[in-house]
Amino acid sequence: MAKFFAITIIVIAILSAIPILRHTWVAPEDISTHGALIDEQMSETMAEAGISFLAAQFILAFFIWKFSNPRPDAKIKSFPGGAKGLVIAALLVVGIEVMALGIFGVKAWANVYLTPPSANAMPIQAQAGQFAFYFRYPGPDGKLGPIHPELINEGSQNFYGLDPEHDPDSRDDIVTAEMAIPVNKEIHLLMHSKDVGHSFFVRELRVQQDFVPGLDVSLHFTATKVGKYEIVCTQLCGLGHYNMKAYLSVMSQQDFDDWMKKEAAMQ
């Protein structure tokens, strides 16, 4: 039975690795300027984790095979290196391995979170609420008008609680249900939650960030490929969480300008 157990461990380990090696289920193609570093970090981590996983399972299986049900007169033996050798190996090999991952990973993280958006990044405000996203563009004046929570009214489609009558900055704000952005243009996304926690996840953009009620956060990114992508909520926000989504359309500058004109006319 021990030998069968050892073989089972090895078979499971190999079968587990096959979909990874064949790239059966992977993230979609990256369409961001920062995503390559994340993907590279993922690949390096996969290589190190994969080798550790296979090595540990194989050694475990080998020892189970080799040392189970020995002859009654067999003498016990100790691993020659002893525990000290294993501790040193763990400290050196695994310690260096994980520290290297951590240190190199800082760059990928810093690219997204520790560098400010450029001065000419396009600001767009995303608002999350049960169970829809809305997006607000500042219009020609480049300024977003203030939010008046008490004025929020979905029935009259005042999703942001704007008061254009009293706030000049709100008058040219454009609110949409779809997020459109020009390709190769840096976006500065200002994230505001109307009610509870939500999240903004676009797999292709390599972007995921929570909306924090009471704390507006922001991030910046540049999309490099025209197309239509799904924005989904990843923070459990209530019964309609599974269905909270919007589309991100990455367009040429010309198409974006046309879209913006059309949306402005509909406000």
Binding site: A2, F5, I9, I12, S16, I20, V26, A27, P28, L37, I38, Q41, T45, E48, A56, Q57, I59, L60, F63, F67, N69, I76, S78, F79, G82, A83, L86, A90, L91, V94, G95, V98, M99, G102, G105, V106, W109, P149, E150, I152, E154, G161, D195, G197, R203, R206, Q208, Q209, D210, V212, P213, G214, L215, E230, L236, L239, H241, Y242, N243, K245
Partner: protein, 593 residues
Amino acid sequence: MHDVAAHAAHHGPPTSFIRKHVFSLDHKVIGKQYYALALVAALVGMALSWFMRIHLAWNSAAIPGLQLLSKNGAPGGVMTPEYYLQLMTMHGTIMVFFVLTTAPFAAFGNFFLPIQVGADDMPFPHFNMMSFWVTFAGFVVLMASFFTGDGPTLGGWTQYAPLNAVGPVGGPGQGLGVVLWAASIALFCVGQLLGALNFIPTTLDLRLKGMSLMRLPLSAWGWFITSCMGLTAFAVLMPACILVILDHVAGTSFFVASNLVMNDQLLPHSGGSTLLWQHLFWFFGHPEVYIAIVPGIGIVSHILITNMRKPMLSQRVLIYSMGALAVLSYMVYGHHMFVSGMNPFSSLAFSFPTLVITIPSTIVVLVWTFSLYGSKLRINSASLFALGFISMFVSGGVSGFFLAQPSIDIMLHATYFVVGHFHLVMGVAAMFGIFGATYFWFPKMAGRMMNETLGKLHFWLSFVGAYCIFMPFHYLGMAGNVRRYSTFVDDFLQPLIPVHQFITVAALITGAAQLIFVYNLIHSRFWGKPAPDNPWEATSLEWSTATPPPWDNWGGKHPVVYHDPYQYGVQSSVGDYVMQASPEQVKTEHEEK
């Protein structure tokens, strides 16, 4: 080390039925009560996971009888999205608190810690009794939420703010359901704190003559370290739960920020902090992972040594590693919050300790694995589950490499990758520890042997089944499959549904295999072969006493400890081992004082 005779006077033998079986002061009965509670909770939690898995794989399928549990939640047996979330929340809460904490720590720890240190009982038997009954009350309160108001909370076992504090406007179960959840967990915390208050002095003050700390078995070390973690972690979660209740019933705003709008109405709260809850919760939540797994590490070490017929390469290294895991577990909790809106520099600060925690984990695995070298490994149900624990601990552990890094977490956060990770490393591995412990200690607890054939069948189906369920979770996560969705409506999730169907079939089969265990447990309890005092030829003190142990553990004759806990591979008058309480002198190779 204590005066045994004086301690024996703490409570006499029980005489009434109530004192013997219900409100018992005997740590062994309390341990069995915890085990029974964990077993019932595990069966409920597993049934909920079946319902969830069927719904995820075949969304419009009617589950016969589910409408009896909730007419509104499952009209005609078909689950609504909100009911899915409610069942999911209950599954997570029941499993994490009432199974993974209760069984390995409270059940086995209660029964065996005093015996392994040589005590008659815990130092505060009344606290110990309260510990169980308060925990039981917590379970009843949680179960009550199924049958009150609009059902249990749907906010997940993490109960993120402000959804947990806004009240009924947040959705079904977000009013009374949350209050019951928070009350249940607060009660649970009280129970565990009372437990820790007993475990720590039991270990430090009630050891027998000759039982130095380094002579404690590794299982005792696991429970001791866990109780130290419990004392600090549950002490944070309990007040956090009370604050949630106050937000509901006293008009406070600890977790609700100003100017939030729901259903076009401004919420009557102001000034609270969303992230405060996450910090409080995860300050408990990450140590909780180790509260669930460190007893398993100790138990698996104990079982393996007995079945390898040789000590570990170093007991001291394993103890220090468990201690390092416990200390580090408080310094890593922020890795659950990389994309929460927390300061991005904090993410880096939490990332490095998370990566460092890989080192003691690796040392534990290396010591286990290389201790197998040159052993005389016996294969039985207990050792199979202990070896399976190592395999699962490795598989669940390596995915931690990914989740420790904030940059990668951007892609994997809140996906099934995380679900696969924690199910393998703290769910399946901990369950394997519980199963291994059951097969190993059942003879001492019940006085009868379990059926080995059924035990091995249970192992094979569980081992292969668990991999079939949880390894594909990682693949789903890598493809971006978001967790906590009741239905996969997004375009990119459609091609992944066949994977979910495979997982569901595996979950149903693996779940059914657990019924073999339940049958074996109940059948063996009444009709199993009578167990000898030391069926595994083991060395620690629990095997020195009668089977099952008398009420004071020793029948008035207290042993003296002469040896380290694991004197195997020696030549003695009884075989290849010397019991800790045996005065026989043999040439020993492993003294770790």
